[in-house]
C-alpha cells in the first residue's frame, strides 16, 4: 500500500471471558477501495472489527487518519465518521424501517443523505413504516448498509453482509458496496470469495487471532495454493457455494 492507510491497527489484543481471542492483529485499511478481511471461521475477523470499534475491551493501537482511537468510547469514535453494518445486521426489530434509519442520523454539515439511500434502496422508501422485524434478510441488510451511507462517513465497516442471502440478493448487495466503495473506503469481512474477488483491492488474512497475510487481493486469490492454505478453501468439496457473481 503506497498511500498511508486510513485505518492502521497495530498489535490488537482482545481478551474475552478470560480467554485471549486476538493475539496481536495488524491491519491496514487502504484510503480507497475495499479492503477485505478474510480468514476461516473462528479466525477472529468479527472480534477484530469489534475490537477496532471498542465494542470489546482491547489493547493495542488503532489509528484513524493518524489519530489514536483506543481509549475513546465507541460512540465518540463512530462519530468521527465510521458506518458499521454488523454481522447480525443490528436491526431493531421493534422499530420501523424509517426509525431504524433515523437512529443513524448524525448532525452533520449536509444533513442525512436520504436521497442517496432511497435511490440505492427503493424498497426501503416503500416499506418505511413496516416493522423492521418483519423484513426479509436481504431487506434488513439493505437497512444496515443504508445506515452506513446516511452520513458522510470516512470508513464503512461491513461484517459478512452477504451471509445467508440468496444469490440474487448477494449480487445486489455486492453492487451497492461496489458503488459505495467508489466514494468511501470499505473494510469488508467476507467468506464469499466471489464477492471478495469482485470488490476487494487489498486483503488481510487472519488465522488463529493473528495476521497471517496482508497484500493485494488479486495476488492472493490468484494463488490457489495460498488460498487453500490460508483460507481452507479451493476447488474441492469444501469450496463455498458461491453464486456465479463474477460478472
Amino acid at each position: 500500500m503506497t498511500a498511508s492507510p486510513l485505518l492502521a491497527v497495530r498489535d490488537l489484543r482482545v481478551l474475552i471471558g478470560g480467554r485471549h481471542i486476538l493475539h496481536g492483529v495488524d491491519l491496514d485499511v487502504a484510503p480507497q477501495g475495499v479492503t477485505a478481511l478474510l480468514g476461516r471461521n473462528g479466525a477472529g475477523k468479527t472480534t477484530t472489527v469489534r475490537g477496532v470499534l471498542g465494542l470489546v475491551p482491547r489493547t493495542g493501537s488503532v489509528l484513524l487518519d493518524g489519530k489514536e482511537t483506543v481509549g475513546l468510547p465507541t460512540h465518540t469514535l463512530v462519530r468521527r465518521g465510521i458506518g458499521y453494518a454488523p454481522e447480525d445486521r443490528g436491526i431493531f426489530a421493534g422499530l420501523t424501517v424509517a426509525e431504524n434509519l433515523r437512529l443513524a442520523e448524525r448532525r452533520g454539515a449536509d444533513g442525512p443523505a436520504y436521497g442517496l439511500v432511497h435511490e440505492l434502496f427503493p424498497e426501503l422508501k416503500r416499506r418505511e413504516r413496516q416493522s423492521a422485524g418483519t423484513l426479509s434478510g436481504g431487506q434488513q441488510q439493505m437497512v444496515a448498509i443504508g445506515r452506513t451511507l446516511l452520513n458522510g462517513n470516512r470508513l464503512i465497516i461491513a461484517d459478512e453482509p452477504t451471509k445467508g442471502l440468496a444469490p440474487k440478493v448477494v449480487t445486489e448487495v455486492a453492487q451497492v458496496l461496489e458503488r459505495a466503495a467508489e466514494a468511501v473506503p470499505v473494510l469488508l469481512v467476507e467468506q464469499n470469495l466471489a464477492v471478495v474477488r469482485r470488490l476487494a483491492r487489498h486483503c488481510v488474512v487472519l488465522a488463529d487471532g493473528r495476521t497471517a497475510h496482508q497484500g493485494e487481493a488479486d495476488g492472493l486469490l490468484g494463488d490457489a495454493e495460498a488460498t487453500r492454505r490460508l483460507l481452507g478453501v479451493g476447488r474441492g468439496p469444501l469450496a463455498p457455494f458461491t453464486a456465479e457473481a463474477d460478472s
Binding site: T74, H75, T76, Y84, A93, G94, E99, R102, L103
Partner: protein, 295 residues
Amino acid sequence: MSTIVLLTMTGLGLGALYFLVASGLSLIFGLMDVLNFAHGALLSIGAYGTWWAASGQLPGAGPGGWGFALAVLFGTAVGTLAAVVLELAVVRPLYTRPREQVLATVGVGLAVPALLSGVWGSDARTFPGPEALSGTFALLGADVPVNRLVLVAAAVVVLVALRLFLGRTRHGLVVRAGVEDRAMVTALGIDVRKAFTLVFAIGGCAAALGGALGGLYFGSVDPRQGTSLLIFAFVVVVTGGMGSVTGAAVAAVVIGLVQQFANYYTAAGLGDLAVVVLLAALLLVRPRGLTGRLA
C-alpha cells in the same frame, strides 16, 4: 354488587400505584440491565416530600386545593432530582460492573428509609389531603373513595405521556432501540449514557408521583412504604415484560385486581401471597421472562 365495584376500584387504584412504580423500573431494567433496588426509596422520597410541603413547610403549599397540587409537584420534583443524583453518583460509575450496580442500589435502598426514619421517625404520619379528594363518590351503588380515581387518572396520564415520549421523540426512539440492543445504539454513534440518566429521571418522577398520590390512597406515609411496594412492582415488571410500558400497565391492573379480590374472598394476606407466588410461577414457566431478558 357494590362490593365488587369497590373491590374493582380499589384494585384499579392499587394497580395504578404499581404501574407508577413499575413503569420506571421496567424502562431502567430494559435499557440498563440494572435492577434498581432503590426504586422504592424514590417513591418514599416523593411521599415525604409532598407530605413535608403540604404540612405547611413550603410557602404556597398546603393540604387543600392548589396548595396541594403544588405540594405534589414539589414532592415529584424532589424525587426526580434524587433519581438523577442516584444515577450519576451511584450507578454510572459502576457502568462496567453490572452486579455491583445492583448491589449499590441495594445499599441505597437500605439507607434511604433509615434516613427518613431518622428525620421524621419510623411511625406512620398522617397524610394531608384536600377536602375535594377525601370523600367518596357513588358508582353503581357503591361508595368509592375519590383517591382511587385520582391514582387511576394519574396513571393514565403517565401512561399516555410515556407512550408519546417513546413513540414520538428522538430520545424516546433511542430508549426503545436501547432496550432492544444497547451495543448497537452505541455503534451508531449515540451516547447511551444520556439515555440512562433520562430513564432514571423518568422512573424517579413516576415513582415519586406514585408516592405522593399513594400517601393520599393510604392516608399516611411511613418509611417502609416504598420497600414493601417494591416487590409488587418487581412482579409487575416481570409479568409485563422488561422495557415494555404498556405491558407494565396491563400487568399492574391484573395484579392489583387479583390481589384485592384474593385478599377479600380468601383469608386476608393470601392475596399478597398469591401475587408473590405468581412471580415465582411465571419465572419458572418462562425462565427467560416474558421478553427473554432475564436469563
